[in-house]
């Protein structure tokens, strides 16, 4: 069974076509990047997959079920940390436990506490468990959010621009953790990024998007020079993508 199956998917906001005729299938246990410039419809597509936006035309299936029918427990979602309320009074362990309970915990005790700590250990962030999120750096918060998404042992992990707001070392750490988690858990990882170099380096498959589907396939095919020019209008400043 495919983890994600998208057929003839289109979406418009009024007269503006946001997504046009997308067709792709993501096998289980794959690391997939959705790449495209700003306004390409990446986040909209992710929201459709998470069941936050209704499908207008076409069909979207996650593990064989329509996205609004799927058990949310199967999906671990890591939002962009820049959109999060970092002034919210919360300890890291409470944020992780919210991923387990699918509601905000009054207190984190017993098995919930144990599982939350284990998830933090998996992303090497157990020392942050009782730190308020207001005191975390971007990279630390991103790790805690990753722990929050994997604490429920999801079959699909969806990450929205996970490198935004963190430094280069934090970014490299994050991708290593993600790859390690994906290999150990056999989960499917779906990552949104505008950085095709990262997508090229880490992904099994890449969906290149600019409202229309430019390409889908292994990175060396999907991120060809011609496809990048179609999606971005250029292929970067003074350097070209080095393919594997």
């Amino acid at each position: 069974m495919n983890a994600v199956e998208v057929k003839n998917l289109s979406l418009s906001y009024g007269d503006i076509k946001v997504l046009e005729n997308l067709n792709f299938a993501i096998p289980e246990n794959a690391f997939v990047s959705i790449v495209g410039p700003n306004g390409a419809g990446k986040t909209t597509l992710m929201k459709i997959l998470l069941g936050l936006i209704k499908v207008e035309y076409g069909e979207v299936k996650i593990f064989g079920k329509h996205s609004d029918e799927i058990d949310p427990q199967l999906i671990g979602y890591v939002p962009q940390i820049k959109t999060m309320d970092r002034n919210f009074p919360a300890l890291s362990i409470e944020l992780v436990a919210s991923g387990l309970l699918r509601k905000w915990p009054w207190s984190v005790k017993g098995n919930d506490r144990e599982n939350s700590i284990k998830a933090l250990e998996m992303v090497k962030a157990e020392h942050l468990a009782f730190r308020p999120i207001t005191e975390l750096s971007g990279g630390e918060l991103q790790r805690v959010c990753l722990a929050r998404s994997i604490v429920r042992n999801p079959k699909l992990v969806v990450l929205d621009e996970p490198a935004t707001g963190i430094d280069a070392i934090g970014e490299a750490d994050l991708y290593n953790l993600l790859e390690k988690y994906q290999q150990n858990s056999k989960a499917t990882v779906l990552m949104i990024t505008h950085d095709w170099h990262v997508a090229n380096h880490h992904s099994d498959f890449v969906l290149l998007l600019n409202r229309k589907q430019v390409s889908f396939g292994p990175p060396e095919e999907a991120l060809s020079e011609q496809n990048l020019r179609t999606a971005f209008g250029h292929i970067g400043h003074e350097h070209k993508v080095k393919m594997n």
Binding site: G51, P89, L101, K103, W104
Partner: protein
């Protein structure tokens, strides 16, 4: 020192004060954390429209104000969720319409309406048995609805995460805004329409200064709301000054003291 407790009107005021302290400071944590301070103000002014309609119709003002304010709360939530208008713009529209209606209703009464001033500024002398029963019922309802705290807290932190986990955030918005609206209406005899919005904001804000988790912020906010209501009522009785203003000034004093201590020592 405690002889004021032997006076029946003070007993009613004190019980009402404690209940209002629980309600306002509990729902206030969501108001503060969601940045909805203006909603409290807007609904308080909507309550004025309802109270004025009750006075005009010679009905118990609170009984008219409850459905009137609930309708306004639902209207604000609907427009906010279904248009691209900012929350404060939506509240501003409903706020002014309700206030304008209230002024017209009072004008239409064409006789001296001292009652209206009790509602505007609060009066412990005017606290009736209804003003004690109404918040008591709402506290009971709030206890029954306490499992909702976890959902409201989740969507207060991040609406999208909550929605992705199938929390019905829009439905919850309606429930929460209706409960805030009723809290405001049942609080106005003690605190007054003009100041009730502050009661929703100051205890949670003070609690936020010293707490690093939302559950603790909620618990401390309730303790602060109740204790300042009791002490404020006691001070207002001995100084013979308006109860609502005394409670709010006490809460504000506490807020600034905590803020300064935190700044100096932490």
């Amino acid at each position: 020192m405690f002889e004021f407790l032997s006076l029946p009107f003070m007993q009613r005021a004190l019980i009402a004060g404690i209940l209002v302290g629980i309600l306002a400071s509990y729902y206030g944590v969501f108001v503060v954390q969601r940045g909805l301070g203006f909603l409290g103000s807007g609904l308080a002014h909507a309550a004025f429209g309802g109270v004025a309609l009750g006075i005009l119709l010679d009905q118990e003002p609170l009984l008219v104000a409850v459905p009137f304010t609930i309708l306004v709360a639902i209207g604000i939530t609907y427009v906010k969720n279904n248009t691209n208008l900012a929350g404060d713009t939506t509240i501003g529209i409903f706020f002014s319409v309700s206030m304008a209606l209230g002024i017209i209703f009072i004008f239409m009464k064409r006789q001296y309406t001292s009652d209206a001033f009790n509602y505007l500024f609060g009066s412990i002398l005017a606290v009736s048995l209804t003003d004690v029963i109404a918040p008591a019922v709402l506290v009971l309802i709030s206890v029954l609805l306490s499992p909702f705290w976890k959902r409201w807290a989740y969507s207060s932190f991040d609406r999208e995460l909550a929605q992705a986990d199938r929390v019905p955030v829009q439905f919850d918005d309606y429930i929460l805004s209706v409960l805030i609206a009723v809290t405001i209406v049942v609080s106005i005899k003690v605190v007054g329409i003009v100041l009730i919005a502050a009661f929703l904001v100051i205890p949670p804000a003070t609690s936020r200064l010293v707490n690093k988790s939302f559950s603790r912020m909620t618990a401390y906010s309730i303790v602060l709301g109740v204790s300042t209501a009791i002490i404020g009522l006691w001070i207002s009785y001995y100084l013979d000054v308006p109860s609502g203003a005394t409670i709010i000034l006490l809460q504000a004093l506490l807020f600034f003291v905590v803020m300064i201590i935190k700044k100096l020592y932490y």
